[in-house]
């Protein structure tokens, strides 16, 4: 991450990010989606439209319903009301269209009794092993192909899980706090890896995270869910790759964080003066 990327690199990368939208992303149209568990409404008539190839991050406090929304998109749960519809392109819906969807969970969920390469090739015919090892190469773990998952570190396991998701060439990649259990350095590496693979492949990505910085670093749009409702839908127009030290980045982070914390948004100059607020923001930004 450079702190001050040269103007032309920014333009080039922005163009690349744009070109991703011509890839094989699926459109996700969510309308009036509700979900109740034992009478308690976790999601309340949520509507969200994710364009093909878009990277949307969903943030919110623990228990706000963000993971439930992702599980509903993944069809791991059934909605109480409303529906999740998919389409191949931005215009219109296609009933019955099911995009190739893959999920990354917070824990890598590798099968401990299969070697790394066979974990990546899960659900593929035997003939697809070369493509599995190519996916492993893309996440930089080709030389660990013959190992048991038990000997890998947490970050390596998540990279294997990412390779496993990407080997299917998904049209929709759902990320359920996949980096939540990793250390700060590994997180940044993984974020860069996910970003570059997303730019290359052009799939639609929906990321659930509690880390606002991560959401801003990766997403085209940050959606805030509070108490089962979408209360903020903020597009992020920062050029990629996004430098965390960039003032615009910091300002966006400050804005969304204070929004999450239910503080009124501060003007940039007054926020700089209010050190106590910054302190609380920094203290809790990992916790929410």
């Amino acid at each position: 991450m450079q702190n001050n990327p040269a103007e032309n690199t920014q333009v080039k990368n922005a163009a690349e990010a744009q070109s991703g939208k011509h890839g094989r992303g699926a459109r996700v149209a969510i309308d009036g989606l509700s979900k109740s568990y034992a009478g308690r409404e976790v999601l309340k008539a949520v509507a969200l439209d994710v364009k093909p190839g878009e990277f949307v991050a969903i943030v919110g406090r623990s228990g706000c319903g963000k993971s439930t929304l992702l599980r509903l998109i993944a069809k791991l749960e059934t909605a109480t009301h409303g529906e999740v519809a998919f389409a191949k392109d931005a215009d219109g819906r296609q009933p019955g269209f099911e995009p190739e969807t893959r999920i990354m969970f917070q824990d890598s969920r590798l099968l401990p009794w299969k070697r790394v390469l066979n974990n990546v090739a899960l659900g593929l015919p035997k003939a697809a092993l070369p493509s599995a090892s190519q996916a492993l190469r893309q996440v930089g773990l080709e030389e660990r192909a013959g190992e048991w998952p038990a000997v890998l570190s947490g970050g390596q396991r998540q990279r294997v899980a990412l390779a496993r998701a990407l080997v299917h060439d998904p049209e929709l990649l759902l990320l359920d706090e996949p980096l939540g259990a990793l250390d700060a350095l590994t997180r940044i590496e993984m974020q860069q890896l996910i970003e570059s693979l997303w730019q290359k492949r052009g799939f639609t990505a929906v990321l659930v995270t509690h880390d606002v910085q991560e959401a801003i670093a990766l997403a085209d749009r940050v959606v805030l869910i509070e108490d089962g409702n979408i209360t903020l839908d903020q597009s992020i127009d920062l050029p990629r790759p996004r430098a965390r030290g960039n003032p615009a980045f910091a300002q966006m982070e400050e804005y969304i964080l204070s929004r999450v914390l239910q503080h009124p948004a501060n003007a940039p100059d007054s926020a700089l003066g209010d050190v106590s607020l910054q302190k609380t923001v920094n203290q809790v930004q990992w916790a929410i």
Binding site: L76, R102, I103, F105, R109, K114, L122, R164, H168
Partner: protein
């Protein structure tokens, strides 16, 4: 270049020392685990020789060894051993196979659990050996009754551990595999069975120990061949040394079965950090 040489000369003795220490540690624990049985045998031999033990109560180890040698030479030992091992193996195969099948069935299908589990749990509480009078009435005293007793005894540990193993497979892994398009037999083969395997193998190990207990009882009641028959026969002729040969054979066979079960665990659970 010189740095690499220096590091290698520093490394090698250290590595050798580490290897030596490891090797010694392994040898020492091996020796230690055999110290007690060997010590007991020595004390026993001395006690018999000095005359503290009458040979009718406990013959000296040397006499037991001689008896074993004579039995082996006459071929009697091998026939009895073969018959007993055959009974153990067939009983284990029938009882264990049924236990595995029914465990998989009740573990996988809720309806099968509702239908079968209550009954099986009731039957489980009847000690297999309590069935002996009934078994003799049903099957007489030939092979079928022994096979039945061993099978019933072996069935339950394997059934219970298979059921428990299937039920305790990580739900997250099943969810993941389903979202990756696995279902039916591939899901079963790649996720559910391997996930249940550690638990199933615990049942197998337990059952292998139980096989010999049941077989001893079954063979002592009535038999025309087998280690149990050999010992009961020897008792009638007051051949205490042969009785001891039979008892020690059971111990040896039990240990062998355990080694076998451990070998299976080592092979099938080689992915498991707990078995490496």
């Amino acid at each position: 270049m010189s740095a690499s040489i220096a590091s290698s000369t520093v490394d090698t003795p250290r590595k050798i020392a580490a290897a030596k220490r490891e090797g010694n540690g392994f040898g020492a624990t091996q020796l230690l685990s055999w110290a007690l049985p060997v010590g007991l045998i020595v004390v026993w031999q001395i006690a018999a020789q000095v005359g503290w033990l009458s040979s009718r109560i406990l013959p000296e180890p040397w006499a037991v060894l001689r008896a074993a040698w004579n039995l082996a030479l006459s071929g009697e030992l091998w026939t009895h051993l073969g018959v007993s091992t055959g009974r153990a193996a067939s009983g284990f195969a029938v009882g264990g196979g049924l236990g595995l099948l029914l465990g998989l069935l009740t573990g996988t299908f809720r309806q099968a659990e509702v239908l079968l589990d209550t009954t099986l749990q009731m039957v489980r509480n009847i000690p297999a050996l309590a069935l002996i009078p009934l078994v003799i009435l049903w099957f007489g005293i030939d092979e079928t009754s022994k096979l039945f007793l061993v099978s019933v005894g072996v069935f339950f540990p394997i059934y219970l551990d298979t059921f428990h193993g299937i039920r305790s497979v990580d739900k997250g892994l099943i969810e993941m595999a389903k979202s990756y398009g696995l279902s039916g037999w591939p899901l079963y083969r790649d996720v559910i069975l391997p996930g249940a395997l550690p638990s199933i193998l615990v049942g197998v190990r337990f059952a292998l120990g139980l096989v010999w207990v049941l077989l001893i009882v079954a063979e002592t009641i009535s038999a025309q061949a087998g280690i149990g028959y050999m010992t009961m026969n020897a008792r009638e002729f007051l051949q205490t040394d042969v009785v001891l040969v039979g008892i020690l054979l059971y111990a040896l066979l039990g240990k062998l079965a355990d080694v076998l079960a451990r070998g299976l665990e080592k092979f099938w659970l080689r992915w498991h950090p707990g078995y490496q």
